[in-house]
Amino acid sequence: MRLSYPAEVKIIQVPCTGRVDILHLLNSIEDGADGVYVAGCLEGECHYRDGNLKARRKVNYVKKTLEELGIEPERVQMYNLSSAQGARFAEIANEMVGIIRELGPTPVKSNTAA
């Protein structure tokens, strides 16, 4: 199964989505990412019990913060899938890229020269 997913997606591996922090998501947006999504295990199937549920709550927190800042909350998403669902992984990557394409580039742009 050689499935392809959009090259725009950069993967950052963590041992469990429970490790994902609010700051990881916020800092990505701050540094100019057009969107960030967290791909966790299926709900109820977390190896560490509830890491994926905690990740969802953090994603929701960041969505609320973005909304407060007038930025589309859809730029941050939580997905759940098992490690055996390769096809679903590619599908989610395409879906997320589709959402971001529709929203357009991030409005968070530095005005100082790098």
Binding site: I22, L26, E30, T65, E68, I71, K109, S110, N111, T112
Partner: protein
């Protein structure tokens, strides 16, 4: 502990809208425990503000410091070397923090990033409730260990008012009538008679009514302890 709520991002952003370089100062005391002004919250606020300002095309440089406590002069000293590097400072400590900072660093401006609300504790994760009004004359033991000064909307000392209904205060349907709880507790303990004693007039001079308060411990001043 002292409990506080963070001000809205809009309010905080408006405070520093004309500034390009600021410091956010957190506190490792009460506001860390009530998850409003510790390291994590300082970092989240800094990142959120930077996102907002980048979006507005008006970048801001934000550094962070988290002091051991902002209510002790020796810890306030911790930012002495850097405080002048900034156009403004946002303090995420309780209302004591920005004042201690303002008193020490007279040329700097310190904005409060939180609204300090009450003395209380966490009744469940994410929920804090008021337990003490700091009235200066504690008589909790007279009321079954429950404080009617802080927890009765009218601070009554001799039983519930007519607004008590099914254990709920008329002021807010989510507020228990503490007098209902006190009476039930004393009844269950067979000590209802304790509540019949007439309490003398409460001396409110020890509360805020006597003006700003001061606590002087001579033995500490003299260095005996």
């Amino acid at each position: 502990m002292i409990v506080a709520d963070r001000k809205s991002l809009d309010e905080i952003l408006a405070m520093v809208e004309n500034n390009k370089k600021i410091l956010i100062a957190g506190c490792k005391g009460c506001v860390t425990v009530c998850n409003v002004g510790g390291l994590k919250e300082v970092e989240i606020l800094a990142s959120s503000m930077k996102i907002a300002r980048k979006k507005a095309g008006n970048d801001i440089e934000i550094d962070i410091e988290v002091l051991e406590r902002q209510c002790d002069r020796e810890y306030v000293e911790g930012i002495a070397d850097v405080v002048d590097d900034y156009e403004a400072v946002i303090s995420l400590a309780c209302g004591v923090g920005p004042q201690f900072l303002s008193e020490r660093y007279k040329d700097q401006i310190f904005y409060p990033g939180v609204n300090t609300t009450f003395f209380g504790g966490a009744t469940e994760h994410g929920v804090w409730e008021e337990r003490c009004a700091g009235c200066g004359t504690c008589g909790i033991h007279l009321f079954g260990g429950l404080c009617p000064i802080a927890r009765c909307a009218k601070s009554l000392l001799h039983g519930p008012c007519g607004g008590s209904s099914n254990g709920v205060c008329e002021v807010n349907k989510d507020t228990e009538c503490i007098w209902d709880t006190i009476v039930r507790k004393k009844m269950e303990a067979g000590q209802l008679e304790d509540l019949c004693s007439v309490k003398g007039l409460k001396d409110w001079q020890t509360a805020r009514d006597g003006g700003p308060r001061r606590s002087i411990r001579e033995e500490l001043i003299q260095g005996n302890i």
